[in-house]
């Protein structure tokens, strides 16, 4: 069998999503953003939402998300993405609007906009990459930093008595009547990537079908901020982050109450 016989469209098992640009990403080696970007691009493409997807980029490492995913984008002020998404979606109800934010952007400075977009039940998708750190500004403590974790602003480790407790944002927004789907995922293994993609697909489908706010948290690594190799970061995340931020669906109004896993 020749090489040409194998390289045929019908034999293709994997390719770059059409909506993922060929621009070289600025993300550090081992960062979860690249994988999540790819999943978002795949989901938009598979749902046929290329013409109607509108992304709201945050301030933080994903500030340049608009350079990588080929849909319309607005770059928001720090933390305000859900406010922008609210307006765009209300002015264009037929469009599918999503925010893509980090835990510093969303859970600290943007907590009010997040709570109120969710409580109004805006028909949008909110994606939060939770790596428990401010990556872009150089590794400072975020609301989601674990107790004991060393960061640029908690050089001796986060102490609850000084810095408060790590915030479980997904659990908070799951209590709000406007959210229809709240889930916590990760992308550190192929199996986790597949689950995260299914979650994102459900979230975008909900937005398209106007079911309320879908909130997808991705527990993620920040090798540079954590000062670990990519491999060690994945292990550290699984061993430490998942204990405080357990993976799985937290709320799904499509499933009767009490039966969600």
């Amino acid at each position: 069998m020749k090489r040409e016989d194998i390289i045929k469209p019908e034999n293709k098992v994997y390719s770059r999503p059409r909506l993922l640009d060929k621009n070289i990403m600025h993300y550090c080696p081992g960062c979860s953003h690249g994988v999540v970007h790819k999943l978002v691009a795949e989901v938009i493409e598979e749902l046929g939402l290329e013409d109607s997807a509108i992304g709201i980029a945050p301030v933080g490492c994903a500030v340049f998300a608009y350079n990588y995913i080929d849909c319309d984008w607005i770059e928001a002020a720090h933390g305000r993405a859900p406010a922008l998404a609210t307006a765009v979606n209300r002015l264009y109800p037929s469009k599918v609007v999503f925010t893509y934010q980090g835990d510093g952007d969303l859970a600290a400075i943007g907590s009010a906009e997040t709570i109120h977009a969710c409580t109004r039940g805006e028909n949008i998708v909110i994606i939060m990459i939770n790596n428990g750190i401010y990556g872009m500004t150089g590794g400072q403590m975020s609301p989601c930093t674990l107790e004991g974790a060393k960061t640029a602003t908690t050089p001796y480790g986060r102490r609850a008595d000084l810095n408060g407790f790590p915030l479980r944002v997904s659990n908070v927004v799951s209590l709000l009547d406007g959210t229809c789907y709240v889930t916590r995922q990760a992308v550190h293994t192929p199996a986790a990537v597949r689950k995260a993609k299914a979650a994102l697909k459900k979230a975008f489908t909900n937005a398209r079908d106007k079911k309320g706010t879908s909130f997808v948290e991705i527990v993620a690594t920040c090798s540079s901020g954590w000062k670990m190799t990519p491999d060690k970061s994945n292990k550290w995340m699984a061993e430490n982050m998942f204990a405080h931020y357990p993976l799985g669906d937290i709320k799904d109004t499509a499933i009767p109450a009490g039966t969600a896993q």
Binding site: D70, D72, L84, T86, V88, L91
Partner: protein, 365 residues
């Protein structure tokens, strides 16, 4: 047309005018003395008629960022607030200017600083005309002195904002927001269709319909050379606006020995003072800047050519006086009279102040 003459508050006129202009969205948060804008819109339910979106946001910060999102999508969107709330909006206003987005912001000023007072003031002149937020930018600033102008400037503000792709502000005060007057409302215009928005705003973020290339609205540019180019483009726009859009009202300036410069509601009180003075043979003229930015420097310079003094009357500690002094390069004495804390001067106080400053500075001698 007769049916369209109404008696209403300035704040209510803003709400009616917004619907009639065909505005697409209003996002606001309650604050005295402008809450009637949001209340009137909620009562009129324009989403049932024109399709205009009205939303009470969780804060002024959220309001202005909803405006940012709406403006980025090419829609005609606005917010209104009063001084402390407008302070909260400054970051978002800077983003609007930096992203070259058209939007309308209404500030019905109250006395500050801090929580200050709910009573009228003009003490946000600096904030409105000199930037307010971070970075080198300007807003087009319109200063209404009547309820009629409150209504008219909604359309004018939106038109200028879209013409130059830059945010515009109506800088009103608690007097003109709260007082009731006769007003002729503009005729109802239809809202632009999404297709018309696409044509008018090819840059807008509203989905890549028809497979067009993606649109990105951002104020970020990390390449300093590019960011300087962006700034140069903003400045070219500002020079164009300065050239084309200066607006002011001049009264009794031809034979004036003295000049009063005043904007907004206090200009009407000054006019009363001027008319009283003329009965006594004191010839005072009035320049009322309508655009506070761009400022009518040239008009003031011209009007000041033969006067002995200029009194700048403002409901603040003296802010616009800096622009008036720039206008005349201190070739004429310029003094300021104003009250603070929400107190509005009466015509007699204005006249006494002008007499003291220029006509009879030392009454005992």
């Amino acid at each position: 047309m007769k049916d369209d003459i109404k008696l209403m508050k300035g704040n209510e006129a803003i709400a009616h005018a917004a619907i009639r202009y065909g505005a697409d969205g209003y996002f606001g948060y309650p604050i005295t003395p402008q809450s009637e804008v949001l209340e009137t819109l909620e009562a009129l339910m324009p989403w049932e008629t024109t399709g205009m979106v009205v939303l009470q946001a969780e804060s002024e910060v959220a309001s202005i960022n909803m405006v940012y999102g709406g403006a980025a999508s090419g829609k005609a969107v606005m917010t209104s607030s009063s001084s402390p709330g407008v302070s909260l909006m400054q970051e978002g206003i800077s983003y609007l200017a930096a992203s070259e987005l058209p939007a309308l912001i209404v500030n019905v000023m109250r006395g500050g600083p801090g929580l200050g007072t709910i009573h009228p003031s003009q003490s946000d002149y600096f904030q409105a005309t000199k930037g307010g937020g971070h970075g080198d930018y300007h807003l087009i600033v319109l200063a209404p002195s009547t309820v009629q102008e409150m209504a008219d400037f909604v359309g004018l503000g939106f038109d200028l904002a879209f013409k130059y792709r830059t945010p515009a502000m109506i800088l009103a005060d608690g007097i003109v927001g709260q007082m009731m007057e006769k007003v002729v409302l503009p005729p109802q215009r239809p809202r632009r269709t999404d297709e018309e928005v696409r044509r008018q705003c090819p840059w807008a973020v509203n989905g890549r319909e028809g497979g067009r290339k993606r649109n990105v609205v951002t104020s970020l540019e990390l390449d300093s050379a590019m960011m300087e180019k962006n700034n140069e483009r903003f400045q070219r726009t500002y020079r164009e606006i300065e050239k084309n859009e200066v607006r002011y009202e001049a009264k009794y300036t031809e034979d004036a020995d003295y000049l009063i410069v005043a904007f907004g509601s206090i200009a009407r009180i000054c006019l009363k003072a001027i008319e009283e003075a003329r009965k006594e043979g004191i010839k005072i003229g009035l320049i009322r800047p309508i655009t506070l930015w761009p400022f009518p420097y040239e008009a003031i310079r011209e009007a000041a050519r033969n006067v002995k003094g200029i009194l700048c009357v403002e409901i603040n500690a003296g802010q616009m006086i800096e622009d008036v002094r720039l206008a005349v390069s201190d070739s004429v004495p310029v003094t300021h009279f104003g009250r603070m804390g929400g107190i509005v001067p009466n015509p007699q106080e204005v006249l006494d102040s002008l007499r003291k400053d220029f006509i009879n500075p030392n009454p005992q001698k």
